[in-house]
Each structure stands twice: as structure tokens, then as C-alpha cells.
């Protein structure tokens, strides 16, 4: 800390002497009811406090200052301090916009001063939730924020996108700032989405129960001071430990939150129980379920099947047990004895509830203890928080265990110094069976996937009743005669992805009051985590590469560190009716990602997971380091507190670009005007408050990695010749581009905020237009250039959107019923305007011919894939109007040039929450709705294509595909069920797998009861409340086949820029339970 020394010595050489006095008092509403949590501010400074549970406060201010009291939904009152030591405030209900909210760099500002939109989410909406992941808890709570789960696995990743994608080659996830400290929120997947990409989003390391409040800075004008890091919006989190500020509540308080929830499989398909395993109504040990009926008679009855009607088994209605007839090379017939299966064992032909029994009821058990307190004079205060989460998912083998410990404190020293700090320690253990992309037939990649073979288990296969493990060698065994399906139960028991993370984050800050109006502050932040990854598969698996089948063990550590220095000088001046505040400062941030580990292949002894037990070893190593230095300035001017102007600028320098391209400066300006303050005469019963605002913001986006470097690959194990490893060089595939420069993002936003009908209705509307210029594109190159990609700046994308927040107090009464409804609605249109001259399409996620593509004039999020051939031509990747062509077999042919087959962007999303309270009872629920947006789903296609759900019951007739034949006549060719569902719906053109993802969801519902004060008066408790709640209890994606119960809230290609894909990546979860909150 030697640097700090210079700073402090510099500051200490300046002496100030100002008379101060301490004022105490209480804050009540106009009925005399205490207002806990009201804000007391020394006017014109950032000195402030909040009232305690009984509405009491204590603040030390300079003589002659004014102090103001404010509270959400009430008019602010202020009084001059002239020697009184007690000032009580009684606040009139009124103007909610005067609330103070945290903006960038922790600067607290009145909401009415802001020229841009900020969404605030309070702790009541965050704590006691069944999800331990703050990203998921925020779902539906702020407009303009789209949150997608990677899957329903506990601990799986979560994607957060604010106001659409700024870029398709760079990250679009927002910046997390926790207590002023940059917080790493990335998702370190294990592998690619094809081979399995489990990994938690690292904001899982925050306990939502330790959060005091969340501000979401959506626009660039709001985030300018964060520089490039803030370009995708900022999630500002204030923890309980970080929220303590000097002069706060004297009362020591302990809060305990304890919750228990059940976790269940929410998207269970409606399986049919009429037909079993086979194809074309004939029995066989196939993957598919197009076999005979479970009825004996009828054209599809099992009576006509020699394998079931007793001809081969001797007993009608029974098959020979699949293990007795398996190929001898599977090793199964040889171990029948050990399995306890007789050579003539029979197997009943009937439906089994395999999928239902495979999944279990998991649980969440969450406990959080918070202690806060202060010295008697309020000058020193502290907060300690401990949280424990045990989240056992509904998928066997999946769990999250988390311990969080957090300290925060703040002291106001007598010599004008304020010092504070927070320190958080988190230990998160995430474990899951492997999940990988699947096309409805085993896995497609090198590994295994637990979901790969569960959902399409044929109805007549008894997944839970058959042994899954060879008792001699431990390998997977299953019903198919050549044992070519890896048993999902074996996968659960023999393969896993594990991430054990230890994380420390926190920081220290020192603030020095240079004068009444001028403050210098320095903040140092660290965030370091060590993520210990394990990926293993015992030998004996039956899918993926031979490496996977012979046993694989990978261990590696990801150490991520962020070090951040920030030095700011702030000033606040009032000159007559004008107010001026400013902040200038410098900021440096260093990010290092250091990955080290070992990959071992060729397991020797089954189930021993140590590297010595493996034949070969290979290295896992990657290092990435990047520094960003920024300088910033911001000033805010106001006139009479009814018109505000904020000007800001930041310049960033980054370390991984060539010197001439490494810096960029970006300004912002925003203004706010409050007509109801300027012209009070327009206020009426109808209009209580009106604010209009406008902002212009800019930001920049720097590339990650080492995009300008020329590289050469070296592989020390490229082959083996004469018993020796062959060492090879091969040229790098990326063409380094020294001319690469940052992307530049510009945004204009305007908004209107108002309160109507005596504050009963509030409205906040934002409209924005955001453009990203000089897009950094991973431009694919023709390999004949000698390279396959280069990063370059071309093109332009534009996001246009509207966000609307409405809240209505339908019924307000002091001790009767209160009913509030709030709605947030947002829409975002992201359009690719230009990609330069050399390209007309860039596929940035997925595969080359099936993925998300950027195409000029089209939505960013466009899904491309093969489509049904038509008798018209394709222009700009879209078919001109024309008939679909049915081929000679009666099926559709796929184009092999990809065309546009969907758009993953929803038309709009809306969330409605309702809160109804009566006395100590509160009932609330949150509905989420998404209109439009497409999803390409193998879950739906597989369930239909393999004949499993009730949607496929009507199968004994023939099908005729709509379209024309090759002669242009109406198609009349009849096809059977398997040709229709299997060859067209599942394995037909990609277009056949696209469904509209519109859905509604009962996101949250809760009923809580606070024990009346009278009942607990004589107990040590200050407050006791119990809550019963449920999450994701119902949803309906009404444009997907009903029997599939598909949940489109899934990020099948992982937490990146790919959207609208599902490769059987996992079902969704529902959670319900109860929680208890005690304070004393």
C-alpha cells in the first residue's frame, strides 16, 4: 500500500477546522407511523444516514447546514440546523422520484436528477428465493433485461442481456459491480456446447440474501464512468455488508433467514402409454418408440409380433429379456449370473414410467444470518453476514453447495477521514452429470450427456428396473442388443463435471473531506477466485470418442483475478439557484485469467480417479492478461432542482491492441427537466409529478485475448512414430490484425416519468436507439488465404427499444387491504445494418450451417439452417413466396445452403407483479410473458420424432405433407407415421425444428405472514415472518406441441452470443417451499 501513503501524506498536509454538531430525531409519515429506512441527508453533501427500525436517526453535520429527510413515496422535507439537537420530520406522501439511488462509481443521486433510466430492485424482491443465483432471481424484475437459464440444472449458467446485443463477436453480458468493486461474472464452461458446457455463471458466488439492493444501469449515459466495462449495462449490487455507512442505526440487529424448497422437474412431457419400442409398428430394440401397441389386438397389436406373442419367449405378452439376447461381444450374456438374470428370463411388454422415476425431487435448504451494529455515537458500524445454500437438483448427481461469509464496516474518523471496507469469502461447489448437445440419438460430440438418452427412453424400456452396470468390469449396460446406448443411470454414477470455487472479493476505501465541498476518495478492489474444475468419465462408457469410453480425467484450475484502483475527487457547490457537482478521477483495472491443469486418458483401474491411474497425460494451460486504464470526469449542474444537466467523459487505454489503436475517448450528456417543479401550477389531482429526460451516451468495446499477435502452434504429441512422440509445428489459423481498433457504441435515449391520480399510478417510459460502429468481427477467411479467421472492424448494428414501467396502487389503506400491481414491458429490435463489402453473412454461434447469423437488414439473433426446398428462388437468404416441394418418397428435402429459418429475438417481454396485503398477510405473484421469438429445439423434435408423447398417438393412419411434387402438382403421396415424424419432423430440414417460443409463466407466487408486534412484544424478537412461495410453478409455451411441455427458457449453446437453440440440453425446474425470517 505504499501508493496510498503518498496520497495520504498529501492530503494530511492540508488542515481544516469546521464546527460540527450531532442531530438526532425521528421520521414518521403524516399519520405518525415511523418510517424505517428513510434517508437523512446533509443537503448539498454526500453525508447521510438512514433511519432505523423505529424511524430514529442520528447525524453529524456542520453548523448552518440543512438536513433533509426523504422516503420512497413521500415528499422530502428539509430543515436548517441552527443549534437544535433534535429534529423530527413528518413526511407527506408524494413524490417518489426524490428517492436517492446509487449510480455509477457509487455516486448517490436523486432519481429526479438522472437523465437516463435506472431500475432499482430492493432486497424484498431478492431474498428468501429458491434460486441461489442472483441472475435468475432478477428475472422479470427490471424492464429491458432479458434473463435466460442455460438449463434447469441447479448451478447451471445464466445469461443476462440488457437492451439487446451490442456486438456479436464480443461479450454481451453486463458488468457486475459489488459494493463498488468490479466483480467477475463470467461463465467458464467446461468444453464447448457440443461436448458439454457445464459451468456456473460466477455471480452464483453472491448470496442473494446478503443483498441490500440492486440498481440496473441500462443506458450508456448511465454507465459512462465505467468505461468499456459498462458498455453492456451495469448491475450494481450493494450488499448488506457494503451498505453500512457511518452515522447509521445505533440499534444492533440480527436477522435470520431460513428457507426450504422442493425442486422438481417442471417440463415433464406427457408420454403416451399406447405404443412401445420399435419401428413401423414392429418390435425391435430401437431408439424409437414406433413399435407395436400395448394392446394385443388390432392392426398394431402385439399379438402379431413373434417376439412378443409367445412365439419366441413362450409366454404371450412377454419378450425375452434384452440382456439374454444381447450380442456376446457386449459382455452382457456372460454376466447374467452375476446380474441375477436367468438365461430364460422374460420381460413384460408394457409401458414403464422410466423418465418420471429417473428424476427425483431435489431440495434447496438455505440459511442466512445477518448481524449489524454500530458504536453508540454511530461513527463506527459493521455488518457480518453468513449464508449457506444447499441446492440439490432434480437431476440425479446435480447439486450446489455454497458458503458465503461477508464482513463490512465503516468508520468516520475525527480528522475528516471516512474509511470503509468489505471482505467476502465464498466457497461454491457445483456438481452435475455431463450435459452435451444431442440430436435425438446419443450425443453428437466426444463425451456423454445425462439427458441424451433419458427423454426418448422407449415406453416399453424399464430404465429404472434394468441393471445399469456390468458387475465385472463396471461398464455401462442397457437394452440395445449391441449395447450402443450409454445407460443414463450409468452416466450419473460414473461421470461428472465439478467446479469447486473459492473466492475472495472486497475492497477498502478512504474518503477525505478536503473542505465542505470537496472530497477525495480512493478505492482499492480485489476479486480473486480459484475455480477447481474436474471432468471425469470412468471407462466403460458407450458414447462419444474412444477417449471417453476408455476413461477420461481432467483437472484444472482457473484462477481469475481483478485488481482495481480508483481515485476520485468530488465537489459539490451551490451558487444561488445553481448547483454544481463534479467528479474527476482515474481508474485502473487488471484482469488475469490463468488456467493450469492436466488431462489424463486411458483409465487403468475402474473408478480410481487419480492421474496416476491413467495411461497418458496432456497439459491444459491458458493465460490471458489485460489491463485497462481510464480517466474520467463528470459534472452535474442544476437550476433550482428542476432542471439538471450531466456531462461526462472517459478515456480508456487497453493493453492488447497496437499503440495507435489502444485508446478511445467517449463522452456522454444527459438532462432532466421536471415541469411539475418548474411550474407547480400544473400539478393536480390527476398529475402529481412529471419528469422528462434525454441522454446521449457512448462507450467502447475492446477485444479480449491477443488479436494482433501472429502465432505458431506446437504440439508435442501430434503422432507417434517408432515409439516416439512426433512434435509438430503448424501455422496459426488466426490472422493477427494490428489495425484492429475498439468498437464504438453510441446511444440516445429519451424518457418520461410521471405520477398520476395522487401518486397512485406511476409511469416510467424510455425509448432508446443504440448503434455499434466499427464492429469487431471474427471474420471467417477462406482457408486458401492461409488463415481461417481474423478480427476486423466492419459494420454497424443498431438496437432500438422501448421500456415501460407502470405501477398502480389499486387500493391503499392504512390497516385494510392494499393492492399494488406493477408492470414492466420492453421490446428491443436489433438489426444488422452493415457488414462491409466482403461478407453478406457471418455465422457467429452454432455451426456453420446451423446457427445464429448476422445478415444485413436482418435481426441480430436470426437463426439460419437448412430449409424445405421450394419451387421459388432464395434472395438474401429468404425464399420468395413459393410452394414446398415434396420428393418422390413423400418427404421434404433440405437445402444445403442455409436460409433464414427463425429469429430468436422476442417481439416483446412483459412482467406483471401483484402484491395484495391485508394487515399482516401479504400475497404476491409475478407473471412473465414473452411474445414471439423462435427456438430451434431437438427436445420437441425428438419427443415427436421418436413417437413418445401424446401428440403422436394418432399414428395408424397415413400422412400427406403439404406442398407440391416435382411436377408442380399438389402432393398426394402418403407416408406413414415414422416417415412423417422421424424422417421429416426430427431428421428433416432444420426448418421443421423451429417453433415459436411465446410463453407465459407464473414466475413467483408467495404468501407471507408477519406475526403482529403484540404477539412478540415480550420475546427477544423484533420481527417474525413466514412465507410460503413457489417458483416457475406453471408455464405454457402454447405454440409448441402440447404433449412435449417444452420450456423455451433455455440457452442450448451456452452463455454466449448464441440464442434460440436447444439440443436436448435439459429441462426446467420448479421450486416451492417455505421460509422463515426472524429479527432480534
Amino acid at each position: 500500500m505504499k501508493h496510498l501513503y503518498y496520497l495520504m501524506s498529501l492530503m494530511l498536509c492540508v488542515q481544516f477546522a469546521v464546527a460540527q454538531s450531532t442531530v438526532t430525531g425521528n421520521v414518521t409519515d403524516d399519520q405518525g407511523v415511523p418510517l424505517p429506512g428513510a434517508t437523512i441527508l446533509e443537503v448539498g453533501t454526500s453525508n447521510g444516514t438512514t433511519t432505523d427500525f423505529d424511524g430514529n436517526y442520528s447525524i453529524t453535520v456542520q453548523d448552518g447546514a440543512s438536513i433533509s429527510a426523504s422516503f420512497v413515496g413521500y415528499e422530502t422535507a428539509s430543515t436548517l440546523v441552527a443549534g437544535q439537537d433534535q429534529i423530527n420530520f413528518s413526511l407527506d406522501q408524494g413524490n417518489q422520484l426524490e428517492e436517492v439511488i446509487v449510480t455509477s462509481l457509487g455516486i448517490k443521486r436523486e432519481k429526479q436528477a438522472l437523465g437516463y433510466a435506472v431500475s432499482e430492485v430492493s432486497n424484498e424482491s431478492i431474498e428468501q428465493r429458491a434460486e441461489g443465483d442472483i441472475g435468475r432471481v432478477l428475472t422479470g424484475k427490471a424492464s429491458g433485461v432479458q434473463i435466460t437459464n442455460q438449463s434447469g440444472l441447479s448451478g447451471s449458467g445464466t445469461s443476462i442481456v440488457i437492451r439487446g446485443f451490442n456486438s456479436f463477436s464480443q461479450g454481451n453480458q453486463p458488468l457486475f459491480i459489488v459494493d463498488g468493486i468490479p466483480f467477475s461474472s463470467e461463465t467458464n464452461n467446461q468444453g464447448s456446447f457440443v461436448d458439454g458446457n457445464n459451468g456456473s455463471s460466477r455471480f452464483l458466488d453472491i448470496d442473494p440474501n446478503n443483498i441490500e439492493s440492486v440498481s440496473v444501469l441500462k443506458g450508456l449515459a448511465a454507465a459512462t464512468l465505467y468505461g468499456t466495462q459498462g458498455r453492456n449495462g451495469v448491475i450494481l449490487i450493494t450488499t448488506k455488508s457494503g451498505s453500512s455507512s457511518s452515522g447509521e442505526a445505533k440499534k444492533n440487529e440480527i436477522t435470520i433467514n431460513s428457507s426450504y424448497f422442493n425442486v422438481e422437474f417442471a417440463s415433464m412431457p406427457d408420454y403416451q402409454n399406447q405404443y412401445g419400442n420399435g419401428f413401423d409398428q414392429s418390435f425391435g430394440w430401437f431408439f424409437s418408440n414406433w413399435g407395436p401397441s400395448f394392446d394385443e389386438g388390432g392392426p398394431a397389436g402385439w399379438g402379431g409380433q413373434s417376439s412378443i406373442n409367445g412365439t419366441s419367449s413362450g409366454t404371450p405378452g412377454f419378450l425375452r429379456h434384452p440382456f439374454t439376447t444381447a450380442s456376446s461381444a457386449t459382455g452382457i450374456p456372460q454376466v447374467l449370473d452375476a446380474l441375477g438374470i436367468a438365461p430364460d428370463a422374460l420381460y413384460e411388454w408394457k409401458p414403464y414410467d422410466s423418465v418420471g422415476q429417473f428424476f427425483r425431487t431435489g431440495h434447496v435448504f438455505s440459511n442466512n444470518v445477518n448481524l449489524r451494529g454500530a458504536s453508540s455515537d454511530g461513527s463506527v458500524n459493521y455488518n457480518i453476514n453468513y449464508g449457506n445454500l444447499e441446492d440439490v437438483g432434480f437431476t440425479p448427481g446435480n447439486s450446489v453447495n455454497r458458503n458465503t461469509l461477508s464482513f463490512g464496516g465503516n468508520a468516520k474518523l475525527s480528522n475528516n477521514f471516512n474509511v470503509g471496507g468489505t471482505l467476502n469469502f465464498t466457497q461454491t461447489k457445483f456438481r452435475t452429470p455431463p450435459v452435451a448437445a444431442n440430436y435425438g440419438s446419443n450425443v453428437s460430440g466426444e463425451g456423454a450427456s445425462v439427458f441424451a438418452n433419458v427423454f426418448y427412453t422407449p415406453r416399453s424400456v424399464d430404465l429404472m428396473g434394468l441393471p445399469f452396470q456390468n458387475p465385472v468390469d463396471g461398464s455401462s449396460i442397457y437394452y440395445r442388443q449391441n449395447n450402443s446406448i450409454q445407460n443414463p443411470r450409468w452416466t450419473v454414477n460414473n461421470a461428472a463435471n465439478i467446479q469447486n470455487t473459492n473466492r475472495v472479493f472486497g475492497g477498502a476505501n478512504v474518503t477525505y473531506g478536503l473542505s465542505d465541498n470537496l472530497t477525495a476518495s480512493y478505492r482499492y478492489g480485489i476479486d480473486v477466485y480459484s475455480e477447481n474444475n474436474i471432468n471425469y468419465a470412468n471407462k466403460g462408457g458407450k458414447t462419444g470418442s474412444i477417449v471417453n469410453r476408455n476413461g477420461l480425467y481432467e483437472t484444472w484450475n482457473n484462477t481469475k483475478s481483478i485488481y482495481n484502483h480508483n481515485l476520485t475527487l468530488s465537489g459539490d457547490f451551490d451558487i444561488d439557484d445553481f448547483g454544481v457537482t463534479f467528479n474527476v478521477g482515474v481508474d485502473s483495472r487488471s484482469d488475469t485469467f490463468d488456467q493450469n491443469g492436466t488431462r489424463s486418458t486411458g483409465q487403468q483401474v475402474y473408478n480410481v480417479l487419480r492421474h496416476f491411474n491413467f495411461e497418458q497425460q496432456d497439459e491444459i494451460q491458458y493465460l490471458e492478461k489485460r489491463n485497462i486504464v481510464g480517466a474520467f470526469a463528470q459534472t452535474e449542474l442544476d437550476y433550482n432542482r428542476w432542471i439538471y444537466l450531466t456531462l461526462a467523459a472517459r478515456k480508456d487505454w487497453v493493453s492488447n491492441l497496437s499503440e495507435e489503436n489502444r485508446s478511445i475517448i467517449y463522452p456522454s450528456a444527459s438532462a432532466s427537466f421536471i415541469p411539475t417543479s418548474a411550474f407547480p401550477e400544473i400539478k393536480s389531482d390527476f398529475l402529481s409529478l412529471l419528469k422528462v429526460r434525454a441522454g446521449y451516451g457512448t462507450s467502447a468495446n475492446f477485444p479480449l485475448g491477443y488479436p494482433i499477435a501472429a502465432t505458431l502452434n506446437l504440439d508435442t504429441q501430434s503422432f507417434i512414430k517408432n515409439g516416439n512422440y512426433v512434435i509438430s509445428n503448424t501455422s496459426g489459423s488466426v490472422l493477427g490484425n494490428p489495425n484492429l481498433k475498439p468498437e464504438r457504441i453510441d446511444e440516445i435515449e429519451v424518457g418520461i416519468e410521471g405520477r398520476f391520480f395522487s401518486n397512485r399510478l406511476s409511469l416510467d417510459l424510455s425509448i432508446y436507439n443504440k448503434k455499434t460502429n466499427d464492429l469487431i468481427i471474427d471474420r471467417p477467411l477462406d482457408p486458401s488465404t492461409g488463415y481461417t479467421t481474423t478480427q476486423t472492424n466492419i459494420g454497424l448494428i443498431e438496437n432500438k427499444g422501448v421500456e415501460l414501467d407502470l405501477a398502480m396502487d389499486w387500493i391503499q389503506s392504512n390497516d385494510g387491504i392494499n393492492w399494488t400491481t406493477s408492470l414492466n414491458w420492453s421490446t428491443n429490435d436489433a438489426i444488422v445494418i452493415d457488414l462491409g463489402d466482403d461478407t453478406d453473412k457471418i455465422v457467429y454461434a452454432g455451426f456453420g450451417t446451423l446457427g445464429n447469423a448476422a445478415i444485413p437488414g436482418e435481426s441480430l439473433g436470426t437463426i439460419i439452417g437448412s430449409s424445405i426446398t421450394r419451387n421459388s428462388s432464395i434472395e438474401n437468404f429468404r425464399w420468395l413466396p413459393g410452394d414446398r416441394i415434396v420428393n418422390n418418397q413423400g418427404s421434404y428435402d433440405a437445402t444445403f445452403e442455409p436460409t433464414i429459418i427463425g429469429d430468436a429475438n422476442p417481439d416483446w417481454i412483459a412482467n406483471i407483479s401483484n402484491s395484495i396485503s391485508y394487515k399482516n398477510l401479504n400475497f404476491s405473484f409475478l407473471l412473465n410473458y414473452q411474445q414471439g421469438g423462435d427456438i430451434f429445439t431437438y427436445t420437441v423434435a425428438t419427443l415427436l420424432g421418436r413417437g413418445l408423447t401424446t401428440d403422436t398417438l394418432d399414428r395408424e393412419l397415413s400422412f400427406i405433407l403439404p406442398g407440391v411434387n416435382s411436377n408442380g402438382q399438389q402432393n398426394g403421396k402418403q407416408i406413414n407415421n415414422s416417415t412423417f415424424y422421424f424422417s421429416n419432423v426430427l431428421y428433416g430440414p432444420d426448418e421443421m425444428l423451429v417453433y415459436d417460443a411465446s410463453h407465459w409463466r407464473l414466475g413467483e407466487i408467495s404468501l407471507s405472514y408477519s406475526l403482529p408486534q403484540s404477539m412478540i412484544e415480550n420475546t427477544p424478537f423484533g420481527n417474525i415472518s413466514i412465507t410460503a412461495s413457489g417458483f416457475n410453478l406453471f408455464y405454457n409455451a402454447y405454440n409448441t406441441p402440447e404433449g412435449t411441455n417444452f420450456d423455451p427458457n433455455i440457452a442450448g449453446v451456452g452463455i454466449g452470443n448464441g440464442r434460440g437453440f436447444d439440443f436436448l440440453n435439459g429441462p426446467s425446474a420448479k421450486r416451492y417451499g417455505a421460509s422463515l425470517k426472524l429479527t432480534f
Binding site: A329, T711, F719, P780, S784
Partner: protein, 541 residues
């Protein structure tokens, strides 16, 4: 302003705070995760080029073999099989991988006088360019590999000019080998320059044959004419880290059985052989996991071989004595003896037959010799993958000599018989019991009797081509060329689809070429002809 000095002081301290910290180092542009190009080593380049070449030839040869029924092809429609996307890997491996590595190696080789290494690079380079032209027609050449100089959209050169350049490269390779030098990491000829010269000349001969330059062809006499000079790559047995096994072994020997179907046409011809003599190579090429074929010589079994059911619909073009259907036999009454693969074009789903269907044998995949043990085979069986990928064999040279003889009005008999004898002698080279001279001469005699009985040159060419194709197992590149050049054999099994469309005379360009290079245009159909094939046969099936 009275605060000015404080502000200045703060800025000064800010500089102090930040300047000395490692958080403010702004020169972090070198990638620590790779070498820089200046650290390259010529012999390391040569290593990766040779291994990449083996994989590449295997992939291209596999597809050539599928089109010519040496291998089974899955696809009823000639236009939709082998999509542009499916060629991305070989296109990238050719240019971004091998050709670029050869260019970079040559820079180092020129400096250090490594003529032998440079000669090897040139042989690979020429073979790659010729093959790319054979499959795609016009391709980038003169503007290729100059991305670093800013040429990001290289234009294509005519196939003819690329052929000329490749032939000149082969001549220059011969000059390099004649300049002396050696390489201790030569995986093909272990440092023998004279064999490399023969290989270069042989590749040149095949190029000249394609272009119809028979005089030029015959003028080259120092080529691979004896099996000891065969140009081939030997695979290893390591299953992982790295996997060195023959790619065909990997897809036939797995813990859940075979993952590739054998070509019924190929097995049909080998079972029938000549004059009642089964081709003795069949036990080397194929391994039967069972001794009986359901529906042919054992009970029907819909679960594993649906087309063997009585009354199963047989497409009309497959009803005849000269073509197999379902198994390598043309009538349900004839035994198939445990052999079954798939018919050309069959795109049905996969039943659980991994341990039942016929899989590849000891040659060339490095699997197991068929000793009638009839057991399901898993990975590790037989030679564990230590097979070969032939690039140019002496038998093929003699087969080509026979074609040139026909084209120049000569007698193809002696060259065909030499070729056949060498091809038969090849199969026991890497494993399995040795094939006795008696078996070879008996089969050659049976062939000769049919050859002599053949009434016309065309009939002889059917016999010639069938044997040529059988010898090309493991690499069908030249089979695809030969079939387009002369249209033999006429007895190839038709596609199971009665109307599969035009047989592909070229392939669609790779998607990663068309979609990224603004000077590239996808061809309208696969009926375009390669420059040397403009007068080729039109009745290909």
C-alpha cells in the same frame, strides 16, 4: 481557483499510484499461449504436414471410394450428398494446414539448404493440388496463401493451369531429391530419395493420364513399378493422446461394434470372383462377425436386417443377376455366409447390428483377419489400427498402364495381369496369414480365363476396372477419376433410389470457400466437368 493545487496534487498522486503498478502495463500484445512464427522449426513443420497428409488422403479417398462403390455411400440423392459444408474440413486442412505449412517450411528449408524436406513438401503439394482440381475444378492457386499480404479473397485459377503448376512442382521435387540431403523424419520412405523420385514421377504419370497425354505418360519410366516402392502411410495403435490408429479402424472397431457399413457391391464381386473362385483377398478386406446372414442363410430378422424379409420391396434397377441387393448376393436363395453391408445409397436408420454386420478386416484398416471365428469385435482387436493408407501403389500404376495401352491401341493384358498379381500380393503385407503363391496364381488363372473369354474390349475393361477398384480399397481418389475418365466398370450397383439424379462429375465447392471469398461462386450443379474430363462418358450411374 483555490483548489487548483489540490487537484494538481491529486493528479500527481494518481500518477504515482498508477504508474508503478503492474495494473497499468499497456504492452501485453504477445500471445503467451502459442509460439511466435520466428520460433518455427522446419522438421516440426514436416512432421505435421506428413500426418495431415495421411488423414487428408484418407478422407478424400474415402469419398472417392463411396462414389465408386468401393465403400458404401449413404444418400439416395446425388445432388444432396456431400453438401458444401461437408468439404470444409478438407479444404481447410489442405490450404490453411498443409499448403501454408509447406510454404513456411520452404522458407526455412531454402535458408538451411534442406532440399530433401523441400522435395517432400513439393510432392505433397502437387498431390493435394491435383486432387483438389479433380474434385472441384478451378481453385485458388496463384493468389492463395497471401492473407498476410492482404489478399483475403484469392481468385481461382483454371484447373488446367493448376495441373500444369503441380506437374512443374513434381519436376522441381525430383530436382530437389537429386540435390542430395536426407530427413530422419521421413514417414513414407525413411530417407530414400530414389523412392521419392519414383513417387513424384508416378503422381505425374497419373496427372498426365487424366489429361490424356499418353506420350508424356509413356515417356516416364522411373516410377513405382514394384510393390517395394509403394507410396503409403503406416498408422499406429495408440487410441488416445494422440490417436494414431487408421481412421477406418476407428469407425469399425468400437466398444459397441461396427459404425460403418461395407459395400455390398464390393463384397459381391469378391465372393463371386472369377470362374467360381472367390477372391482370396476377401478374408483380409472383410471380417464377418457372424456366420449367417438373416433372411439369406438364417431366419429372417426384421430387427437387424429388414431388407432380408420375404416380400421386401426390391427397387427394379436392383433386380438382376449382375447386382446384389441387401446382402452381397443377388437372390435370397443364394448364401451370403454372414456377409452383409449396405446397398449404394441406402439411407435407412441404424438397427442394433454393430456386432453382426460385416466390418473391415486386416487390410488396409489394421483390423482382424477373417478366420471364420465369427465373433463380435471391439476396439483393440486385430492389429489395433496399425493399417496403411495407400497414396500410390505399384499395382495401380500397372492398372493405369493397361488403360494407356488400350487408349493407344495396344494390348492391356500383360499389364492387367501384373497389376492383379501385385494387388493380390499386397493384402498380407501388414498382417494375417501370408497369402500363398498358389492361391494368387489360381485366382489370376481364373481371372485370365474370364479375360480371355471376354468378347470385347469393353467386357475386358469391365474386368479390368472391377479389379482396379478392388485394389483401391483404402483410397478411392483414383477410382473416382478413372470412373469419370472411362466409365468402367459398367456393372456398378445402381443407387437404391431409382432416380438419384446426375452422378457427380464434380463436387460443390466447400462452404468455407464460397461463403468467405467474394471472388468465389458456387457451381450450379454437380454436372460441371473437370477440365480434363470434357469428353468423358455420360452414362455414369
Amino acid at each position: 481557483m483555490k483548489y487548483t493545487k489540490y487537484i494538481l496534487g491529486l493528479c500527481l498522486s494518481a500518477v504515482l499510484v498508477l504508474a508503478s503498478c503492474e495494473t497499468t502495463d499497456l504492452d501485453l500484445t504477445d500471445n503467451p499461449n502459442a509460439l511466435s512464427p520466428s520460433q518455427a522449426d522446419a522438421s516440426f513443420f514436416l512432421n505435421s504436414i506428413q500426418v495431415d497428409f495421411a488423414f487428408w488422403v484418407n478422407t478424400m479417398g474415402d469419398r472417392g471410394g463411396e462414389l465408386t462403390r468401393i465403400n458404401y455411400m449413404n444418400g439416395r440423392n446425388y445432388n444432396t450428398i456431400y453438401s458444401p459444408d461437408s468439404w470444409n474440413g478438407v479444404w481447410s486442412s489442405a490450404y490453411r494446414g498443409m499448403l501454408e505449412d509447406i510454404r513456411l517450411m520452404n522458407l526455412l528449408a531454402d535458408e538451411a539448404g534442406l532440399t530433401y524436406q523441400r522435395g517432400m513438401g513439393k510432392v505433397f503439394q502437387a498431390y493435394i493440388l491435383l486432387t483438389l482440381v479433380d474434385y472441384f475444378g478451378d481453385i485458388p492457386y496463384s493468389e492463395a496463401l497471401q492473407g498476410a499480404e492482404g489478399i483475403l479473397n484469392p481468385v481461382a485459377d483454371s484447373g488446367q493451369s493448376v495441373y500444369s503448376a503441380a506437374i512443374a512442382t513434381l519436376d522441381s521435387a525430383v530436382a530437389d531429391f537429386n540435390a542430395g540431403g536426407s530427413a530422419n523424419n521421413d514417414f513414407f520412405y525413411n530417407g530414400d530419395a530414389s523412392k521419392w523420385i519414383k513417387a513424384a514421377n508416378s503422381i505425374k504419370k497419373k496427372a498426365l493420364l487424366n489429361t490424356g497425354d499418353y506420350a508424356g505418360y509413356n515417356a516416364i519410366t522411373n516410377y513405382i513399378s514394384s510393390p517395394s516402392d509403394d507410396f503409403q502411410f503406416n498408422w499406429g495403435t495408440s487410441p488416445a493422446t494422440p490417436d494414431t490408429r487408421h481412421p477406418l479402424y476407428r469407425s469399425n472397431y468400437t466398444s459397441t461394434g461396427g459404425d460403418e457399413y461395407m459395400s455390398n457391391w464390393m463384397m459381391f464381386n469378391m465372393i463371386n470372383g472369377h470362374a467360381g473362385n472367390t477372391d482370396p483377398r476377401i478374408n483380409y478386406y472383410f471380417y464377418r462377425q457372424v456366420g449367417e446372414t438373416p433372411g439369406f442363410d438364417s431366419a429372417e430378422n426384421e430387427e437387424v436386417l429388414e431388407c432380408g424379409l420375404t416380400g421386401y420391396y426390391v427397387p427394379p434397377q436392383l433386380r438382376g443377376d449382375d447386382t446384389p441387393f441387401c446382402a452381397p448376393t443377388n437372390a435370397a436363395s443364394k448364401p451370403a455366409s454372414g456377409y452383409w453391408g449396405r446397398d449404394h445409397g441406402n439411407d435407412n436408420g441404424t438397427p442394433p447390428d454393430g456386432f453382426l454386420r460385416t466390418i473391415r478386416g486386416v487390410y488396409p484398416a489394421g483390423g482382424i483377419y477373417d478366420d471364420r471365428s465369427f465373433e463380435g469385435q471391439v476396439d483393440g482387436a486385430g492389429l489395433a489400427g496399425a493399417g496403411v493408407t495407400p497414396v500410390m501403389l505399384s499395382s495401380w500404376m500397372h492398372f493405369m498402364n493397361a488403360e494407356v495401352a488400350v487408349s493407344t491401341g495396344g494390348d492391356p493384358t500383360s499389364e492387367t495381369l501384373t497389376a492383379l498379381e501385385q494387388a493380390l500380393g499386397k493384402v498380407d503385407e501388414i498382417g494375417g496369414p501370408s497369402l500363398s503363391a498358389d492361391d494368387i496364381s489360381a485366382y489370376v488363372a481364373a481371372f485370365t480365363s474370364e479375360w480371355n473369354a471376354a468378347g470385347s474390349t469393353a467386357d475386358k475393361l469391365d474386368l479390368w476396372a472391377t479389379e482396379y477398384f478392388i485394389s483401391m480399397v483404402g483410397n478411392g481418389i483414383d477410382a473416382y477419376n478413372s470412373y469419370r475418365r472411362n466409365g468402367y466398370p459398367r456393372s456398378l450397383q445402381p443407387n437404391v433410389e431409382p432416380d438419384p439424379g446426375q452422378f457427380p462429375l464434380t463436387q460443390y465447392y466447400p462452404a468455407n470457400y464460397i461463403n468467405t471469398n467474394k471472388n468465389a461462386t458456387q457451381r450450379g450443379s454437380k454436372s460441371d466437368r473437370v477440365f480434363w474430363n470434357s469428353n468423358g462418358p455420360t452414362n455414369l450411374k
